[in-house]
């Protein structure tokens, strides 16, 4: 209350000092010109460009002169025969992926933290987060080569053990989901664990000591001391992950997709890419934008909802 009266007491003096302050900092504004220009051009101009989702955009007419069509593009998507399949694939892939790749880094971090033998621990940590730096293209190439039933590791082991040529995993469309999810686990678990390991380094040693005196086993200490310590990090990452639940990235799916597994692998992002960029002359920019916008809106709602829930339950929220 006091602050308020002070601020309103001499508004003119306050206003003047803002301009004075700003003038004194002109070099800071100079530094900001270029990055902010990039920000406006490459982040905010596309956001404004989302209006074409409600138009029938053609390159010849440009954004402003293209006619409005309301929700026609959305209707077209929701009523298209591909919609249920794409939505189903997207949801299954992301929930399956989330269920596998969210808890495992936590488990890895807890196990590593509880491990005896410093050097071995260091070696394991270093090696397990190495695959993160392998590019997606090479990772998928590696996956296909290693799982080949003729020239791959899988083939060699299968043939070595049974004397026959193994069933072709890669040719089976049903295996797409498992390959997609577990290859990501292989690539990213070690890296995702780093943030938890960093948080675990901050556990209060005296907590462990007193728990030990009270007779707690190492496993109990892991559950009742280590886990609660990293709970705030877990909730924050959980919120961010759930906010991305409908955004299965196009890159890895496109690389692993073929005509056989299309029925399981077509997701929203790949559909947007195909309808809007990869169809040459028949690119439907407005339609693809509408599909993409639908995806972002659902994601944002999910983000808000989980953030609210997390805030209520644990008091951890990102905003």
């Amino acid at each position: 209350m006091e602050k308020n009266t002070q601020a309103t007491a001499k508004p003119t003096a306050y206003k003047k000092s803002v301009w004075k302050k700003a003038a004194a900092r002109w070099q800071i504004y100079l530094l900001l010109i270029l990055p902010v220009a990039l920000l406006l051009i490459f982040n905010y101009a596309p956001m404004a460009g989302v209006v074409i989702a409600f138009k029938k955009f053609s390159l010849r007419k440009g954004i402003w002169d293209s006619p409005w069509v309301g929700f026609a593009n959305f209707e077209k998507f929701f009523t298209s025969f591909k919609f249920p399949l794409i939505l189903k694939n997207t949801i299954i892939l992301s929930i399956y992926g989330f269920a596998a790749s969210f808890p495992l880094p936590i488990v890895l971090a807890l196990c590593l933290n509880a491990m005896r033998g410093r050097r071995y621990k260091k070696v394991i940590q270093t090696v397990t987060y190495l695959p993160h730096f392998i590019s997606t293209v090479v990772m998928v190439g590696l996956l296909f080569s290693v799982l080949s039933n003729r020239s791959g590791l899988y083939g060699a082991l299968y043939t070595g053990m049974t004397g026959e040529i193994g069933p072709n995993i890669l040719g089976n469309p049903k295996s797409f989901r498992h390959l997609y999810v577990w290859s990501d686990v292989w690539k990213n678990t070690g890296y995702a664990a780093v943030i938890y390991i960093a948080a675990l380094a901050g556990v209060d040693v005296s907590l462990h000591q007193s728990a030990e005196i009270d007779g707690a086993s190492r496993f109990q200490r892991m559950i009742y001391i280590d886990l609660p310590t990293i709970m705030p990090s877990i909730s924050i990452l959980l919120i961010l992950e759930v906010g991305k639940i409908l955004s299965v990235g196009a890159e890895r799916v496109l690389l692993m997709q073929n005509t056989l597994n299309m029925q399981y692998s077509e997701v929203i992002s790949t559909y947007v890419y195909k309808m809007g960029i990869a169809s040459g002359a028949s690119n439907d920019y407005s339609f693809s934008t509408a599909v993409g916008l639908f995806n972002s809106v659902v994601n944002f709602i999910l983000l808000i909802v989980t953030n609210k829930i997390s805030d209520k339950i644990s008091g951890n929220a990102i905003f």
Binding site: P35, G49, M115, S151, G160, I195, L254, G276
Partner: protein, 297 residues
């Protein structure tokens, strides 16, 4: 830490099971990598018959010489190096500049700029509108379409800003200002030299993401001479089939296919080697970078 034999029975079991689980995971990550190296050094025939399990069989460098003789690998390599270097330079210099400008107090309006960056963490125009903007700027089929749009990401910028705020004492700013140092001189002469760790992390991030990027070059480039390594790697690794020309007999095709399979392993190894060499040097910075990110302020 207590000696192992003094531990209680159930702690002993815990440590043993724990070490076992970690070892299994460790092997699952490492084994495919070792296999790839061994297969790349083996003759195609043995790889194809499943004879290679752990060590190379029929040791040969042939797969590597064959891979290195492919012209596209070199075109892709030089383009990727160029884009990664320029992209990383732009990205790091822009990110640090914004981070510094927004780390300063008493700059009217910098909260607004901060807010503009924060919004981009949750909203984006999406693929098509971004494509249309880049197209309208005539940047399609140029390097700029790859290096400019993602130059400053809000997350990296916030991490750098946190770093500058927490690790450079405010007294340094006051003392410099007292000596007549301007905002830009303070940034160039004081802030940048003191931010080496975060610059290293950002450089690494930018190089790796540009080097590994597949979607952007695929969408924006259409000239084969401008394509990056991942685009060519995709062609070779994922959909290479032997071009069957007339006069080739069945055996010859089979032989070519065999060689192709083992050459793929050589290419995978070659693309992993640069990262493996850099890895020990960047590793310590990397963990540091993640830690800076985890103490957001």
């Amino acid at each position: 830490m207590h000696k192992f034999r003094y531990l209680s029975w159930n702690d002993k079991v815990f440590y043993i099971v724990n070490a076992l689980v970690l070892t299994i995971f460790f092997i699952m990550v490492l084994y495919p990598c070792i296999f790839v190296v061994s297969a790349s050094l083996s003759e195609g025939m043995y790889v194809n018959n499943g004879k290679v399990v752990l060590f190379p069989v029929g040791f040969t460098w042939e797969n590597y010489s064959m891979a290195l003789s492919m012209e596209v690998i070199w075109i892709g390599f030089f383009n990727s190096v160029k884009y990664a270097a320029i992209g990383a330079f732009i990205s790091v210099s822009m990110t640090m500049t914004v981070a510094y400008a927004l780390s300063r107090d008493n700059v009217p309006g910098n909260k607004v700029v901060m807010f503009l960056y924060l919004v981009t963490m949750f909203f984006s125009g999406g693929l098509i509108p971004t494509y249309l903007v880049i197209r309208s700027l005539d940047m399609v089929n140029t390097m700029w379409a790859l290096v400019l749009p993602g130059a400053v990401t809000a997350y990296n910028m916030i991490v750098a800003r946190t770093f500058i705020r927490n690790s450079i004492p405010n007294e340094l700013l006051e003392a410099s200002m007292m000596d007549g140092c301007s905002d830009i001189v303070y940034y160039v002469r004081i802030v940048l030299p003191l931010s080496k760790a975060i610059i290293a992390v950002n450089t690494l991030n930018a190089v790796v993401s540009q080097w590994n990027s597949y979607m952007s070059p695929m969408i924006y480039l259409n000239d084969r001479n401008k394509m990056t390594l991942p685009i060519f790697l995709k062609e070779i690794l994922l959909n290479s089939t032997i071009e069957v020309t007339e006069g080739m007999d069945y055996l010859e095709i089979a032989k070519m296919n065999e060689r192709m399979a083992s050459m793929k392993y050589a290419i995978i190894v070659m693309t992993m080697v640069p990262i493996l060499i850099l890895y020990p040097f960047i590793q310590k910075y990397f963990v540091k970078g993640v830690m800076v990110g985890s103490v957001k302020g």
